[in-house]
């Protein structure tokens, strides 16, 4: 028998940890159709039943105040699972129980799980399970995703509940509201859960309005008191939750002071931000410098392989220059990417990530984003792909899309060799300054794009913060490992194939039709053909061809330049054109790996295309400005 189980709960209750414990490594990550919300499912067998788990996004309410909530709610409304597990944090249960009461209105088969009971015990909190069951009228399981306690019992309860047919009695909201509910129920078709929709309608849920029967006018029923009633409904739930907790939980004095004390340092007025920058420096260095030896090892290995095979014939050339080079460059990414996600995983698991958002929110406000996307964009300085993928963790869809579209303008590490080469040619005495300017420009361009995209895509609304700060916890290595493996694998699959294909194409364009002279290759022809477009910028055809290859991956620009000019020493470009070139390279096109990531994260072709068009356009304009101004100055 296959039993579908939906996992619902507030963010930060340990839903994902519990999910990991329930299904192990057999997880499948995808997107909910049409949106950038992550959908995680997994399956496991227990006593000859197959349990198919779906980890729904963390939510506070089934009223759709955000896309995450809409996705979760739609799933429960239209395709309800056989069993719904509502996961509540034992140390902060009030909001969770309110959510539980909402799911009961959907007539679902519910189990209440109180997670983190190991922490509850440590803090001297006593939970009376039978009292909870009596008052909530659903089966209750006490678990700890951390120690594994209660997991077995959860499985058992799922099986037992699966066979249940009666549902828990519904909450009574008082005569005033209940009468309105009865009236409104008639305005919905029978196929829907009418009581749920009626309540949502009173609560002001726009989505519920869309499901009304045609030509029904509810304004007379709802009238002006609607918002008061909405408050009353919410209050009724919370009052009920508090009553339940009063009889079923005994606490000591406020025990969260340890978290407050730690936050006192991490969000300290003076030292909070410096600590963050220091940690970022360490994290980045760990990702790139510490893993350098491993990268070196892999590159050396591939180099040996290429030498052995040689490139004398077309086939060997294809294999060594095209395929192995391509595969090699992907594989040499691996240590850095995994190290990056390891560092990121630790920051997320420990609870530090929201603190970063908290510190940086004010600065991000001017970009119409929130502090949450700061970290995401920061990752872009390492590799744009990781930034696009990290956007998955943002809780607001509009913020996700904006961050994803803006990521390519963050100057990734792949561009460094290119800058080095170009700066070395034209500004050998001002290397540091030139670099600094480039990074400043990158940040400015990113900020500018964020504003533009916000205006266009989101009509100028800013994204609210309202962000929960979870307890600090010692990161669990297994969770970090799962996180790292999932993300890393995802990157390799997506980026890997693209880079490989791109490498082969690049090879093909430069090899044919004349392997002995690159000036006769297709690449050169394309470059010469397109040169007229770039004439105002002062680019020669060799530059254009190299830029073409740079679309595959920015590092290739260096080797392409070398190939087309016959050696870097031979390149002579004047300072104005160099500056123009650098500005153009900054954001002219996201590399193929990034484009692949954008496509897979946004689930559509629209966004990568927008990205390409916008990048080309704005980089051209910017470069043109530099060219014109440069000519005027010099």
């Amino acid at each position: 028998m296959v039993i579908t189980v939906g996992l619902v709960g507030n963010p930060n209750v340990g839903k994902t940890s519990l999910f990991n414990k329930l299904v192990g490594a057999r997880q499948y990550v995808a997107n909910w159709p049409g949106v950038t919300v992550t959908r995680v499912e997994g399956a496991t067998t227990y006593k000859e039943h197959t349990l198919h788990f779906i980890d729904l996004p963390g939510i506070y309410t089934l009223s759709a105040t955000s896309i995450d909530e809409r996705v979760a709610r739609n799933f429960l409304l239209y395709t309800p699972p056989n069993v719904t597990v509502v996961i509540i944090d034992s140390l902060s249960p009030e909001q969770g129980i309110s959510l539980l009461l909402e799911t009961l209105e959907l007539n679902l088969n519910v189990i209440a799980v109180f997670n983190a009971i190991d922490e509850a015990k440590k803090n001297g909190i006593k939970i009376d399970k039978s009292s909870l069951e009596t008052h909530l009228r659903v089966p209750v399981v006490l678990t700890s995703a951390h120690t594994g306690e209660g997991i077995e019992q959860l499985f058992e309860t799922i099986l037992a509940t699966f066979k249940k047919t009666n549902r828990a009695k519904l909450l009574d909201y008082g005569p005033e509201i209940e009468s309105k509910v009865s009236e409104l129920e008639n305005c919905f078709d029978d196929i829907y859960n009418k009581r749920f929709l009626a309540l949502k309608l009173i609560e002001g849920d726009k989505f519920a309005r869309e499901l009304l029967k045609k030509d029904v006018d509810v304004s007379s029923i709802l009238d002006g008191s609607a918002s008061n009633l909405a408050v009353k409904i919410a209050k009724t739930r919370y009052d009920y939750a508090l009553n339940v907790l009063n009889s079923a939980m005994r606490k000591n004095e406020n025990v969260l002071t340890s978290m407050e004390a730690i936050d006192h340092v991490f969000t300290h007025k003076y030292i909070g931000i410096p600590i963050f920058f220091a940690l970022m420096y360490l994290a980045f260095n760990f990702t790139f410098k510490a893993s350098e030896p491993l990268v070196g090892l892999i590159e050396a290995g591939f180099q040996k392989l290429t030498d052995v095979i040689g490139s004398s014939t077309m086939l060997t050339s294809l294999i060594s220059q095209g395929i192995i080079n391509g595969v090699g460059s992907v594989i040499s990414f691996i240590p850095s990417i995994f190290a990056l996600f390891f560092a990121l995983g630790i920051m997320e698991e420990s609870g530090y990530l929201p603190r970063i958002a908290f510190l940086m929110d004010k600065a991000m406000y001017s970009l119409k984003l929130t502090g949450r996307s700061f970290m995401t964009l920061l990752l872009g300085f390492g590799c744009n792909v990781s930034s696009v993928m990290a956007a998955r963790g943002l809780s607001d869809e509009r913020e996700r899309v904006t961050t994803i579209l803006v990521s390519p303008f963050v100057s990734c590490s792949a561009r460094i060799p290119v800058y080095l080469m170009i700066i070395g040619i034209a500004f050998p005495n001002h290397k540091a300054e030139a670099f600094f300017v480039m990074y400043l420009l990158s940040i400015a361009l990113t900020a500018l794009s964020a504003r533009i995209i916000n205006k266009v895509v989101m009509k100028g609304e800013s994204i609210p913060l309202v962000m929960e700060l979870p307890r600090y916890r010692f990161p669990s290595l297994s969770n970090v490992a799962t996180y790292m493996w999932n993300r890393g694998k995802h990157f390799l699959q997506k980026a890997g194939t693209i880079i490989l294909v791109a490498s082969i194409i690049v090879w093909g364009l430069s090899y044919f039709p004349d392997p002995t002279n690159i000036e006769n290759s297709f690449a050169a022809m394309i470059g010469k053909g397109l040169q007229f477009i770039f004439a105002p910028l002062g680019f020669q055809w060799q530059t254009v061809s190299a830029l073409l290859f740079g679309g595959a991956a920015k590092e290739i620009i260096v080797s392409s330049f070398a190939q087309f000019y016959g050696g870097i020493e031979n390149i002579v470009i004047d300072p104005v054109i160099t500056a123009t070139l650098m500005v153009f390279i900054l954001g002219y096109i996201p590399c193929f790996a990034t484009l692949a990531a954008i496509k897979s994260e946004t689930n559509s072709l629209k966004y990568p295309i927008i990205s390409v068009v916008y990048s080309l356009f704005i980089s051209y304009v910017l470069a043109l400005c530099v060219a014109v101004v440069g000519r005027m100055i010099l």
């Binding site: 340890s258 004390a261 730690i262 006192h264 220091a278 030896p293």
Partner: protein
Amino acid sequence: MKSVTITLWIMLITSITIGIGYLFEDDVIFGIIIFIFSTVFLLGFRELGKPSYSYRIAHIYVGSILIAMTAGYILASFLFSLVNLIIGEEMMSLKISDMLLLLLGVYSSYNIYRLRKTAIRPEKKNN
């Protein structure tokens, strides 16, 4: 109370020394990072007059975590660099500051372990 002051002094003086060491070895950025973490201990002294217990040890606890992480980073870099031996390049050489840092990292870990026991104990909220 006394042990808090002593630990703060130990961590402060040692970390500043290590920071200076890095400056002398021309690793300015890393030295600055160590100094930032030293400031955590320095600011811990401000808390000493307050009645709240947890705020006092918070500086030691967090500062120790930061130092331990930095020491871990050096250790990881070193271990990864051993791979260089295979391809014929040099491994990372541990300088004196690095080794002092690793030692402080061990002491920091001990601090963390010791404080976790006491920090978990629930504390009466200030009335």
